[in-house]
Amino acid sequence: MRRFKIWLILLSVGLIAIDKFSPISRIRDSIAVFLEKNTSLLLYRIQSYPQLVVLKVQQQQALASQNVQLKKQVEEYSLLLKQSRNQVKDVKLLNDLSQKGIYEDFSPVIAKAVLDVNFFVNNQLLIDQGENKNIQVGYAVVNKDGVIGQISTVNPNSSQISLITNPEYKIYVEHSVSKSKMLAQGAGNNTIIVKYIDKNDKIKVGDILETTGLDDVYPAQIPVARVIRVFYENNGFNSAVCVPVVDFRQLQYVSVLKSDS
């Protein structure tokens, strides 16, 4: 047994010597280093994964909230830009209209519409010009699209407009094609009703009703309303339901027409 052990010792010493002075140990070492490196990397990944996930989630949440805020800002700015462009365009168009002499015998005053739901409910509109611009009750208010209404109340720095859809408001209109005259009255709920239309007047849905220019309030041939329904009433006349050509909810600037006469 002792002999066997001595042989074993000699064998192991020889193996150690061979291993030390041959490339075997280097190969083993390189394999060991490779394994250690990869396992360390794996361990690092496993350890850092929860942090990475949490960080990602937090970053995503922060980015999402920032994104929402930025989107809101962009929407606000785009709306402001659009409004500003529309305002510039409106003012330019209104100025062009007055320069082209469409509003003959009228001197226009440009005012900004103050959109307020409370006024719309009562079929009224507020503008930012009043006595300071010599605006008086009864002056016509139009924009590039058509008739809006008439000044009903004047304050020092603002005025109220009675819209053409106001049930207490009446306007003398004519058919744009046949030129037949008729009286339109506001019916509320953004509609205007025209009664006592002669059955011979060929009014149909989609026709435009214009101002006549005979009432000394509005210039002639300014669009007032568009016919949306024509029906027969039992009194021998036709009636027509119309909507204003002007979209009151998107008003920017209006022109108050002061009659020179």
């Binding site: 066997f4 052990k5 074993l8 010792i9 064998l11 192991s12 010493v13 020889g14 193996l15 150690i16 061979i18 291993d19 030390k20 075997i24 140990s25 083993r28 070492d29 060991a32 394994l35 250690e36 396992t39 360390s40 361990l43």
Partner: protein
């Protein structure tokens, strides 16, 4: 016999995996196979082929040169011949103390071999960790695995 050898192979595989994990994922550099070698040596039921294979496995999965474990085991075996009978009769605590002593001796031999080959991986921290944690664990597993008969212990 096949079943017992199978159990032993499974134990060795688990220990190899344990050593690999500890060496790669902790600051310690342990030699679990050496603990197993010392325990087997102390039990006295020596199968030299088993010891040689195990010592080569121990060399291969660590950074030791081939033959280091074998040399250490053979040197230690000169001192374990007489204590094997006493070791068999002891309870778990004296066994552990004896195992600790012989493992420390084994560790010292390995350290000398490392010094002579200019390649040292052992450290006091690792030695303490092995003595206080790994060795009792391996001893416990061996106690549970072995089937005791009046005169012999085998896997």
């Amino acid at each position: 016999m096949i079943v017992n050898n199978l159990r032993f192979i499974i134990l060795c595989t688990v220990l190899v995996f344990l050593q690999f994990t500890i060496n790669n994922f902790t600051i310690f550099y342990v030699d679990v196979i050496a603990i197993l070698l010392v325990s087997l040596l102390l039990r006295g039921n020596l199968i030299w082929l088993q010891l040689i294979i195990l010592s080569f496995i121990g060399d291969l999965i660590g950074h030791w040169y081939l033959g280091s474990h074998l040399l250490a085991v053979v040197i230690i075996s000169f001192f374990t011949g007489k204590i094997a009978n006493f070791y068999r009769m002891c309870g778990w605590f004296p066994r552990m103390i004896i195992s600790m002593f012989y493992f420390a001796l084994f560790f010292f031999v390995i350290y000398l071999i490392e010094l002579s080959t200019h390649r040292v991986f052992t450290s006091i921290d690792s030695l303490i960790f092995q003595l206080l944690v790994i060795l009792p664990l391996v001893q416990l597993v061996l106690e549970k695995l072995t089937v005791r008969k009046p005169s012999e212990y085998y896997f």
